[in-house]
Symmetry: D3
Subunit: 74 residues, 6 copies
């Protein structure tokens, strides 16, 4: 069973595809393409990226807690 909105308290779970990974010594920066063409950038530890065998083309979910989403006026 996947990690989805039935299982985790975070309100924002979006499925997408990893389109780039860049590694530092501690962090990995991922860009994930969501449906509709939106691209979302994520910073996770390099160890997590390696443990999860993340790579370009891998289908993943992005998870964002609602308290971390700000709003601005256009």
């Amino acid at each position: 069973m996947p990690v989805n909105t039935m299982e985790i308290s975070a309100r924002n779970v979006f499925t997408g595809t990893v389109i780039s990974i860049q590694y530092g010594q501690i962090l990995a920066e991922l860009v994930i393409e969501l449906p509709g063409g939106l691209e979302i950038t994520s910073l996770i530890t390099k160890k997590s990226a390696e443990r999860m065998h993340l790579a370009e083309g891998r289908k993943v979910s992005t998870i964002i807690k609602a308290s971390n989403v700000m709003v601005a006026l256009d």
Copy 2:
């Protein structure tokens, strides 16, 4: 000039439309519809929601710092 990716360090700025607002005593919970039909939930203070005159139908940007985006395997 709008808040966009040229102006703020946050990597994730997505334009959408407020489709619901619910108020508590301190917080406001907003649901914003993004292009492609994704719905993103945001918690901000009630005072900010009032100061910005947020309401259903209002076009806004959602802003998320990359360090607050997690990844999970489907």
Copy 3:
């Protein structure tokens, strides 16, 4: 399959038992007892607590991104 450290990028996933839930209008405050007797407090949305049917005695995992953990000297 559970949400565990093989599936999510967050480095800190601890299994425990919900020992109290208190509701506001927007938020729910949960206290979860971890093995060894540690108690951890979590704020999630009331809607998530209801969707997940959280209640005292429910076994859950707590998830914390490493970038949200500070350190202090005793």
Copy 4:
């Protein structure tokens, strides 16, 4: 029009001047001097620092969501 408290939900927007930037492979660490002499440290991605052409002496706003501000007793 600048990013200010009329435009973004974040409650804490302080104008200051960049006094140092240090780069890693993924991150940039900035120190910004606020009026009154307070110095605030920010971690953003290196890509954002480059995109925004941040440099010592540049006037910027620091933005902090209220839910990320803790309080301690002196």
Copy 5:
């Protein structure tokens, strides 16, 4: 011994005075005045505000992790 920058990993520790507190059912919203007249807003749990006996006029430190500070161009 106070919580200060010698003791906690958070890079931003600013001393100020509580100038307002507003309570919800779960949260408390504090406004703290910093030297130089800056006002910073903090959201903490009501239980923490009560445990710490926070009140208007109380001298406190505000604590902000560097990874939670964004930057915008004016």
Copy 6:
């Protein structure tokens, strides 16, 4: 007097022992062992780790704001 739950608004303060430190250019990744054998990973700045003279075997407190704790169903 230590940083404890009497002094800081963060609800989650756990005492443990540093069991590993890895350095990048900007960040340090620490693993801290808590009572009961739980291991918690923290990302702080390299400058903070150096300022605090953190090293393996050092007793520290980990501090986590309740709003940064998510919950998932097992």
